[in-house]
Structures are given as C-alpha cells and as structure tokens.
Subunit: 307 residues, 2 copies
C-alpha cells in the first residue's frame, strides 16, 4: 500500500492510531437521519423502518486471510466464522437475525471446491438460526482473501439491549469459558442468539455485548458506554481448560455474552439458566460500580487490532 | 492463496469457471425463507419486513485495490465509488436507499489521512442521496485494500422493478453515454436514483438494471432474465466522446440505467424526460424481441470478471 503523504507533514498510519480511535473520530461526522436510533459504536445499528412496529437491526463484519483465519484453514470453518461473527453481534443486542448478504474477495486461483465449501459453512451457520442468504457478490484480488457478511434483522421496540444501560451495582456475567479460541473454537463457535433473547425476555439485562476482543478489552468498553466503573474477581473468570488468567482475559474471539443484570434478578436468573441451558456455563465475574470507583485488575490488558 | 486440492482430482479454479457461473451453481441451494421475494440474482434482494407495508431492499458491494481502483487513486474518489456502486443497484430497482454500513480492510501502514479522505468520499455520496452511514468496521490485512458497502432501503410493494419483466416489442433505452469510464468517471459517476424513481412512477418500465459490466454483457442478462431476445441498433449506442463502439459496449463501469419500456409509453416518456432531465441523455438503442428472434450484434462481447 502506497501511503499518500502529499499535503500533510505529520505522518500517521492506521497502525499508529488504531482502528477504534480513528473511527471514533470519523464516525460522528458521517451523515445520519432521524430514523437512526443507534448508529455506529454499538454492536449493531438500530433504525426505524417505514411504518413497521419492529425496529430494523443492521450489522456487517468480515474475516480476512492471515488475520482471522490461516491460509490452510478448512473453508467450511471460514464460512461458519464469517457468518457467526455478525450473528454474535445480533446476540449481543438480543435481536433476531433474518437476512444475510455475502461478499467474497478472492484470487482467481482459488479452487471452486474451496468456494463451494466456504458457502457450505456460511449456509450451515445461517440455517441454524433461520437466516436467509439473499445475495452473494464476488470480486477478484491479487492479495489476501476476505469474506464480508452483512446481516439485517428485527427487534421489538422495547426489547433491544445496548452497551450503555449498565448501572452501579448491576452484576456482571459471562457465558461459557474464555481464552484459547485460536486452537479451533474460533472456527466453530455458537453465537448465543437463543440465550440472549431468553435473557432479554425474562430478566432486567441492563447492558450486553459479545466478547470479540477479550473481556479485558470489551468490559472497559461496556463500562465506558454505561458511564460506570467495574470490579472483577480474577479468580471467578471462567477459563477454558489449559488457559491462564491472562489468556482468558486477552486472547479474544470468545464470542460469548458479557452482560450486566439488575442485582435483584441475578439469583432467579442463575437458577432459571441452569434449567434452560444446563450445558452452557454462566458465571458471575464481578459488578459495575460508580464511575469514581474504578478498580480495574492489573491483569486486564486489552487485545489491540493493528498491532 | 494456497489452493486446496486434497480430495478432488479435477482441479478447477474460480478464474476458470468465472464468478457468475459458480454463484449460479451455489446460490440456489442456500437457505431462504418465505419472506424472500427476490433473492440473489437481481441487482438487489427484496424481502418482507415484519408488518411493514414497504418492502426491505438489500445490497452489498465492494471495491478492491488494483481491481476497482489503482493504488494511487484519490481516496475521496475511492470512497465515492464504494458508496455509489451499491446505490446504483438501488437505482436499478427504483428503490430508495436509506442506511449504509461500511467495512474497510486496510494494511496498518495506510495513513489516517487516506482513511479520513476515504470516509469523506463515502459520506459525500451518502449525503447526496440522504443515506445515513450507521456503522463502520475496519480490519487489517497484509494484502490489497478493499471497501465493502452494504445498503438497506425501501420500496413500495407494487413499485419495484426487476430484470425479468421485459416483453417482446418493449423498447430499450440507456441513460448517459457509454464507454471510457476508466479515464476517471468510474470514481465520480452519479447513481441514477432520482431518474429511476421518476421512471418507475410515471411509465410502464418492465425491466431495468444498472450497467456495471458494459451493455454487451448486461443486456443479454436482462434479456435472459425476461426470457426474450433483443435487437440493438449499433449506430444508436451513445458513445462517450472518443470511444469506439467496442469500447462503449464492453468497457463497463458505466453505472447508467438500461431499461425496457412498454412501446406505447416510449414517446411520452422521451418528451417528459427532456423537460425533467434535460442535462442527461436518454437514448433508444433497440428493442426486445420474441425469444426465437435472437439477433445479437457481433459487436456484443461481454466484459468478463476474473480475466
């Protein structure tokens, strides 16, 4: 990539600044409309659509060769991951995914079998959550392969959950176990769509997100969006077998749910969860605290994109 | 890209088969739903959304470095093109675009200025058509840069136009002039959103699409979808200044409208067009004919992806 630097004297690259900080600068100035309820910054966008009682939910995401999958990864796994990542963002908002569009960027030399298997993985993940794949585009490239998936879906007006509703004293929970996803789970994880909808329908979930960059990076984001601090009990963080605490916190790509629940719902929720989802662990890892009470464990170091 | 070839003995690559043929094989087997009115194959997907009277329209597209833009192209032009291409697909269906999501895949070395200018181009095109940009994702890569844009919008139930409604004797028109887009127009073309909606509201437009691969490749697609043949008057094809007939037919990236109109609306439409859009040429280039009457000019050679 040729870095253009004609008029500005101070060079800075995406790698120096970081994608998140750069987008935080750019996104607020982009065109919006009165139909937009939640734009860039949350897991999905939420907008009004015509006269519909339901809100329209939108998300796009991509996987890139040598960033999100290795060149020798099984193509069905790559397809699964490409579809499951934006599905996991729908889980984060307790929304129902409905329609998917796929963009494949691939060199001409890729085998038709690879592409067919990729689509098999995409279709398998879509089918599991009753999502229709309504379009597929393909472009050539001389570089790395990538697969982008955009998903559109729906949520009832009073039912969607963002990152920003957390209150001091809400209890913090995560599903599943954290860390070590790179060993294989990142190509076959199950988006927590069903669990998220059940939680939102039955308990006062005040803030929720999916864990993509690791709880060490994602929990501070949830707290910041909710304008509160947090406390985490390091010993309680559920680790995948063989993972250290640092790995559980920083590996990323867990695609589990992280959420805050009103304290008086916490016990009832845990009891009901064990009956409903007895195969999936649910763990209390800490609580939200007033903003002045920041007590971030030193173990919390984030996973940074564009390292 | 490593081409995996473990179990299948007959090697075939995306380049051999071509993206269009491969997707034609794969897409029909993908999961669908009763809400899908028009899936993959037309310019946009059209689906039902909840209880809304309007239909939801979906499209995703991408531009890739060294395929759709050169590495030294002005980033505002790249952004403009990335947004305007899917907008042009909305024009093709006479639908109203409303919300856009952007995915940027870029190496860490790209300058923040480049990314900022890219978003300036994206925003400019979105603003022109009152489209809100509701999300932006970024991923690293070690390869070519790419920008994917997904657009969601609406169309009235009885107002959308597909490629497949053309009838024998319908007259064929194109907007603007064709050919030579690569000299610069491909980075600043105007999607024919306004013109398409005006046409659909006032005349019997039976089939429509936008010209992305050149009329030589796109008109046969429209005819095939409508199950009719076509005749074209080579001399009538409106060429961009300095372009040969072959260039006008095959260069591609015109992003003009190609449409069929019921014969008795054709004169009235041309008169009204000249009043309404006097700066933009509208040219009758031929007509649809019964399927048995195929008369494809020898000058019609398509522009093929993955050359």
């Amino acid at each position: 990539m040729k870095v253009r630097n004609s008029a500005n004297r101070t060079r800075s690259s995406l790698g120096d600044v970081g994608e998140e900080r750069l987008l935080q600068r750019i996104l607020p100035a982009l065109p919006s409309s009165s139909a937009v309820i939640s734009g860039a910054g949350d897991d999905c966008a939420v907008v009004r659509f015509g006269d519909s009682k339901k809100l329209l939910v939108l998300k796009t995401d991509c996987v890139v060769e040598r960033v999100h999958f290795t060149s020798d990864a099984a193509p069905t796994g790559v397809g699964w991951k490409a579809m499951a990542r934006p599905l996991s963002d729908f889980a984060a908002m307790a929304a129902k995914p409905e329609f998917a569009l796929v963009t494949l960027i691939a060199p001409a030399a890729v085998s038709t079998r690879w592409v067919t298997e990729l689509y098999r993985g995409l279709a398998k993940a879509a089918r599991m959550f009753e999502v229709a794949i309504v379009g597929g585009e393909t472009s050539g490239t001389d570089g790395a392969m990538s697969v982008s998936v955009s998903i559109t879906g729906a949520v009832a007006k009073d039912r969607w959950i963002s990152r920003d509703g957390g209150k001091a004293n809400d209890e913090l929970f995560v599903t599943g176990t954290l860390g070590g996803s790179i060993r294989g789970r990142h190509l076959r994880f199950i988006p927590r769509i069903e669990e998220a909808q059940w939680l939102a329908q039955n308990f006062r979930i005040t803030a929720m997100m999916d864990l993509s960059d690791g709880v060490g990076a994602d929990l501070p984001r949830l707290a910041r969006a909710s304008n509160v601090g947090f406390e985490v009990d390091d010993a309680a963080v559920p680790r995948t077998r063989g993972c250290s605490l640092a790995e559980a916190i920083s590996d990323g790509e867990d695609y589990e749910l992280l959420f805050a629940v009103a304290p008086r719902d916490a016990d009832r929720m845990q009891t009901a969860w064990r009956k409903r989802f007895h195969k999936l662990r649910l763990t209390r890892i800490g609580r939200l605290v007033p903003h002045s009470g920041f007590r971030v464990p030193s173990s919390f170091r984030g996973y940074v994109h564009f390292r």
